[in-house]
Each structure stands twice: as structure tokens, then as C-alpha cells.
């Protein structure tokens, strides 16, 4: 039974602060104000059982459900393991129990293990070869033309660098959709009573001029679902740069990649430098070399993420070649569910680089009826075309 130590209250505070430090290095952001809150709560609530202590700490230190498992594991390890005696200066428990050495197996445990025993890792990843970007301003107009039409897959190293630079310099304008918020408007429309009355009050009750409002347009949010299967080809990398550029434009963009599994990459791509961001994704995503399971990934997206990311104003960009083996009926129903949950579904398919492309594969035929636009995405030109499409208001309706 745990008793709040009245005789040495400072030790409890130190232990809780240590615990917060452990949580921070394991990836849960805990601010010092939350630690203060936790200490205050422990003083006021008191605690006379371990579950209560756990509940008090989790209420104060947690702020999202995804961290709960990690928190629970950290709690188990921290408030029990005598191996941490060097870090825990006071025992909260009356007895010290000998315990076998921890063997972290799961991925979270490894992070926790690193957080609890911070040692330099012997298998540090090799630093990437320094690709210094030479800004060659000597590209002539015709060379630029060639660059725009060059297929990502078959670019030379120089063209690749220039293409990445061009991508980061593209101007992204997203289609503004009216929202329910209002802003001031010079033109007559809906009356802004508050501003009108304020003006009247200032002028002693004379109605000088009316003030107006209109719905404020905000750029439509977007979700990018990118298929990154196959080997680490240039093509997939360019997609990640593309997703990064989108994410740093004005609108709200959520990005996901999928191969055999679906991974959310929105936060990983937040870094300003595109190369850093892409390398973060490369480290986090593990299934580069596997095949694709489009149906499973779309299913996971629909089950777990659709209700959080999609709304009636969202545009979804699905980037995939559509070559799915096996049962295509499930694929069709997942695409239908996806299409119905968003405003428009744009399918970008690199196979359209071939001019004589015919949608014959069963997977492609299953997916095609549910998309609003079917576009190529193999060179800078096609990306520019896509940008123009994203910035314009809705064209004619669904394809079929």
C-alpha cells in the first residue's frame, strides 16, 4: 500500500519529475506545468492505492489516448523496478524487489528502454552522403522544357535535383470554399449589425453607412494517400517531396503512405527541409520492398482515419498504380466508401504516362467508377496540371 510520504515530501516531487523526464524522452510531451499540476493533485487527492496513483498521474500527464499504452508501460517500469534506484532517489515502496533484467521486445519497449537507460546506440545509422545542392541558374529555356517533361523514374541525378527544387518552388493555391465564419465585406449582402451599431454610436445615432459581412472562404483541406510499394525508386521519393510541398502550403493537409500497411506521415513531414522530412518518413516506414495491398490499406484508412480526416469539404488524392491482385469486390466497396466520405476523390496514376494506356486490369476497373478525376503524375508537367486543378472550383461531376 502506497502512502504519501509526509516526512519527505520533496522526494515524491523529485520522483514525479523524473518520471516526467522519462516520459518525455520516450516521446510523450509533458510540460512542466503538467508536472506541477500532478504534484498539486497528489497533495490534494492523496492516494491510498496504486490504481488511484496511476489514475491521478494519467489524468495530469496524458493528453491523448495514443500515448496511454506507452504511459502504462512506463508507469509499470518506473514505479516498481529497483534497477532504477540510481535515478529514483527515494523508494516509494517499502521493500525493494529483485527483478530480472528487462528485455524490451516490442517497439514501444525499445523506446522506453532507451529512455530509461540512455546509452549511445552502437548501431547508429550511417549518415547519408551529403548531396550538396548546386543551384545552376544556367538552365536554358529548352532545358527547362525538357526537365518538365522528364519522367521521374528515368531522370539523371542533375535533373532530379533540379526537379526537387522546382517542386519546392511551385506555388500552391487551393480552392477556397466558403465556411460558416464571416468576414467584413465592402459589398452589400448580409448586414454586420455590430459594426453598424458601433458606427452609429460613434456618430451620435446617425446612420452614416451600413457595414456588411460575407462568408469567409478557407482553403479546402486535403488528404494524400500515397502508394510507396516496390523498391525505393525515385518515383516514390518524388511523391514524398510532393506530399511535403503540399503540407507546407497554406491548407490543412494530412498525408498517409501505404504499402502493405498504412502509415500516417503528416507529422513526419512537418520539418521545413524537404530532405530531412523525407528521410524521417523513410526511417519510420518499414515496408518499402513489399508489394501493395491496396484493399487492406484503404480499409484501414476507412476504419480508423476517415472519420477524423475527411469531411464534406475535403479533397482526397489517391496516388497508386491500381494493380491489385485478388478479390476486387472488396476494393470496389472500399473505394465507394472513400468516395462518399469526401468532397472529391482524385486518382493519380503513374501508368498514365503511357499514351496508349487502357484500363484493363481488374483492380483499375474496380476503382475507376468511384473517382472524380483520373490523372497522370509522372513528371513536373502533370504536377503543375494537378495544382491548377486543385486551385479551380469543381468541374463536371463523376466520370461514370
Amino acid at each position: 500500500m502506497l502512502v504519501a510520504p509526509q516526512h519527505s515530501p520533496g522526494r515524491l516531487a523529485e520522483n514525479v519529475m523524473h518520471f516526467a523526464r522519462v516520459l518525455r524522452s520516450a516521446g510523450i510531451a509533458v510540460g512542466t506545468d503538467r508536472v506541477q499540476l500532478a504534484l498539486q493533485a497528489l497533495r490534494i487527492a492523496g492516494f491510498d492505492s496504486r490504481p488511484d496513483f496511476h489514475a491521478v498521474l494519467s489524468t495530469c500527464l496524458l493528453d491523448r489516448i495514443e500515448h496511454k499504452d506507452l504511459f502504462d508501460q512506463a508507469f509499470e517500469l518506473f514505479w516498481r523496478d529497483p534497477d532504477l534506484e540510481g535515478r529514483m532517489r527515494a523508494m516509494l515502496l517499502p521493500k525493494v524487489r529483485a527483478q530480472a533484467a528487462l528485455t524490451p521486445e516490442q517497439r514501444e519497449n525499445r523506446r522506453l528502454g532507451d529512455a530509461l537507460f540512455p546509452n549511445p546506440r552502437s548501431d547508429a545509422p550511417q549518415p547519408e552522403p551529403d548531396e550538396s545542392m548546386q543551384f545552376d541558374a544556367a538552365f536554358t529555356v529548352s532545358e527547362q522544357e525538357v526537365l518538365r517533361k522528364a519522367d521521374f523514374d528515368t531522370m539523371s541525378a542533375d535533373e532530379w535535383r533540379a526537379a526537387r527544387r522546382a517542386l519546392s518552388m511551385m506555388r500552391w493555391v487551393f480552392e477556397p470554399l466558403p465556411t460558416r465564419r464571416a468576414e467584413g465585406s465592402p459589398r452589400a449582402g448580409r448586414v454586420d449589425w455590430r459594426a453598424t451599431l458601433q458606427t452609429m454610436a460613434r456618430h451620435g445615432g446617425e446612420l452614416g453607412e451600413m457595414r456588411w459581412r460575407r462568408p469567409r472562404p478557407l482553403p479546402a483541406p486535403m488528404v494524400v494517400l500515397a502508394d510507396i510499394s516496390g523498391s525505393m525508386s525515385r518515383y516514390s521519393r518524388m511523391l514524398l517531396h510532393f506530399a511535403h510541398a503540399l503540407g507546407h502550403a497554406e491548407a490543412r493537409v494530412e498525408s498517409f503512405v501505404f504499402g502493405t500497411r498504412l502509415t500516417r506521415t503528416t507529422r513526419l513531414l512537418k520539418s521545413r527541409d524537404p530532405d530531412v522530412a523525407v528521410s524521417q518518413v523513410v526511417k519510420a516506414v518499414e515496408d518499402w520492398s513489399g508489394g501493395t495491398r491496396i484493399t487492406t490499406s484503404l480499409h484501414e484508412f476507412n476504419q480508423r482515419w476517415a472519420r477524423r480526416c475527411l469531411s464534406s469539404r475535403t479533397t482526397v488524392l489517391l496516388i497508386s498504380d491500381g494493380l491489385e491482385h485478388g478479390d476486387t469486390k472488396a476494393l470496389s466497396s472500399e473505394m465507394e466508401r472513400l468516395a462518399k466520405s469526401c468532397r472529391r476523390l482524385i486518382w493519380l496514376n503513374p501508368l498514365l504516362r503511357f499514351e496508349k494506356f487502357q484500363p484493363k486490369a481488374a483492380g483499375i476497373r474496380a476503382m475507376l467508377p468511384h473517382v472524380d478525376r483520373f490523372l497522370p503524375v509522372h513528371n513536373l508537367d502533370s504536377l503543375e496540371h494537378l495544382v491548377r486543378l486543385l486551385g479551380s472550383p469543381d468541374g463536371p461531376g463523376r466520370l461514370h
Partner: protein, 305 residues
């Protein structure tokens, strides 16, 4: 009559909630207790239908405080949430002032006084004229947008609202604030930092049975156990939207209306729409799936506990 005191311990809080038919698990009771004692807002996140709104209602009943409810929606703004000026009466006042030839400065002062101020939920909750601070429920915060969250920060931090024409209104005693969210959108960290956080999950079988027996008095014991067993297993199936406690209670009421004493496949088929709200989920559960779950429930009942 003096209002009831705040509970002195987590146990007492749980008992008092139970007396009002709210079955709270220990973690939720701890979070509520801390929110009351530390005078911090309580942020409850979870799937729809898990009793987040209900806890606020029960708290207000338990403590004898008024419940002020702010239902959030996209585009909720200052005028809908906090206050609005009564433009019609202000215009009338201007016309009347013209008649008496009042001078400009007094007019401006009179126009923006408290008698022309319409108080909405947030301002009502922090009105210093109140004797007893109310329970403020900000429901479904994830449906409001980010500018509203930014505005809410001032209210939640200082329990005050600044009205440019009028002044600052500050609460004498902070109200008890409960925010709920269905997690359709991430709430900004700054709001969460102000609050104590708790995720309200689906209940386990024992607690769900207790809730059912309290909320649907008169339900037969065997039916209640079968209902709970079925719904608990249903939540393991991969559905688009899992049924919450609210759906369980509604289903029990529906079955009682149909005079069902035990579950059978036919009555389950007829009443699936009470539990499941998506056609894909209903289609999945029709036929074999529901019968299989029912069989498991029956087998579990036969094994002595």
C-alpha cells in the same frame, strides 16, 4: 437551501454518482474528483454514446448547480457562444434619444450597457452576479473550429471574457467546466493543457450490466445478461461504428417494448437498427454473424461462473 458540498474523497464521489444512477469507473471518478478539487476544466474524449454528456448532467444534479450547456457546431462564434448585442433595442434607443435630444457621449455610454447585452452560455456561466457557480458543459468541441478554440482559451484560463464596448466580465467563483469531444478532429494542445484529460472508453461487462439495471429498471435479469453479453461481443467485431452504452440502453428498452424475455435471432434481426447506425455494419451482422454471437452468449451463460 444550501447547495450540497463537494465530495471529500473519490469513494464518496462514486457513491453519490451511483445514487443518481451514474456508474462511474474508478479512473473517471478520480478525474472528476481532481477537476472539482483543483478547479480545472475536465476534458473528456471518447467514442459517442459513452456517457460523457451524462456525467455533466449528473454532476449538476448531485451538486445542486444549474447546468449550462453549449452545443458546439462548425461556425460557432462569439455571438452564438458568449454574447450578442440587442441591436433592435439599441436602434430603438437611438430613435428615442433623438426625440429627447440627448448628447452624443451619454448616448454611446447608454447604448452599450448591460441592459442591451444578451448573455449566451459562456457569459452566463461566468456572470459575477451568480450566487452559485454553475456546471458549464461544452459539448462536442471537436465540431467547432479552431478560431473558437482560440477564444475559448481565454475563458478557460482566467474565467473571464473581455467585451470591447463594455469591459471585462470575470467570474467570482470559477464554474465547473466539462468539455467533451468525439475525436473527429484533434483539439489544439493549448486547450488540452488547461484541462485535466480523461478518455472515456466502453465499459466492461460488469459495469455495463450495472448501468443497464439502473437505467432500465424492470429489465429481466436473464435478458439483461444476454444483452450485455451480446453487445460486449459485438464490440469485438470490426464494425465501422461500435455501439455505445446509450445504444445498449435503447436496445434494452426496445426489446422490452417487444415483450422479449430472452434474445433470439429473429428479434435481433428486427432490432439491429437500434444498435448499429451504418448500413454496412447492419449488412455485416445480418444472418450468420448475429446468430453466431448469440450462440456464444448462450454457451457462456451455461458455463457456471
Amino acid at each position: 437551501m444550501p447547495t450540497p458540498d463537494l465530495p471529500a474523497s473519490i469513494d464518496e464521489l462514486q457513491q453519490r454518482l451511483l445514487a443518481l444512477d451514474y456508474v462511474a469507473d474508478r479512473q473517471l471518478a478520480t478525474a472528476v474528483f481532481l477537476a472539482l478539487k483543483l478547479q480545472r476544466p475536465l476534458f473528456l474524449e471518447g467514442e459517442p454514446g459513452t456517457g460523457k454528456t451524462e456525467i455533466a448532467r449528473t454532476l449538476s444534479q448531485m451538486l445542486g448547480r444549474e447546468l449550462i450547456r453549449l452545443q458546439c457546431y462548425e461556425g460557432l462564434d462569439l455571438a452564438g457562444a458568449a454574447y450578442e448585442w440587442n441591436y433592435g433595442r439599441q436602434m430603438l434607443e437611438i430613435r428615442l434619444a433623438e426625440g429627447t435630444h440627448a448628447d452624443r457621449d451619454t448616448l454611446a455610454g447608454q447604448l452599450f450597457s448591460s441592459k442591451f447585452l444578451i448573455q449566451r452560455a459562456l457569459l452566463q456561466a461566468i456572470d459575477p452576479a451568480r450566487q452559485v457557480p454553475p456546471v458549464l458543459l461544452i459539448d462536442e468541441l471537436d465540431r467547432a473550429d479552431e478560431p473558437f478554440e482560440a477564444f475559448l482559451l481565454e475563458v478557460l484560463s482566467e474565467f473571464q471574457i473581455t467585451i470591447p464596448e463594455f469591459g471585462t466580465v470575470k467570474a467570482v467563483t470559477p464554474p465547473i467546466v466539462v468539455l467533451t469531444s468525439n475525436r473527429t478532429r484533434e483539439i489544439h494542445d493549448a486547450v488540452k493543457r488547461r484541462c485535466l484529460y480523461h478518455w472515456v472508453g466502453f465499459p466492461d461487462a460488469a459495469r455495463e450490466l450495472q448501468v443497464l439495471q439502473r437505467r432500465v429498471p424492470g429489465v429481466a435479469q436473464q435478458l439483461a445478461q444476454q444483452i450485455v453479453g451480446f453487445v460486449q461481443r459485438l464490440r469485438q467485431v470490426e464494425l465501422y461504428k461500435q455501439p455505445g452504452i446509450a445504444e445498449t440502453i435503447e436496445w434494452a428498452r426496445a426489446l422490452m417494448q417487444l415483450d422479449a424475455l430472452v434474445l433470439d435471432p429473429a428479434v435481433i434481426q428486427d432490432t439491429l437498427g437500434v444498435l448499429l447506425k451504418y448500413q454496412d455494419d447492419i449488412a455485416r451482422m445480418q444472418g450468420g454473424e448475429a446468430a453466431r454471437l448469440l450462440e456464444e452468449v448462450r454457451n457462456a451463460a451455461r458455463v457456471p461462473v
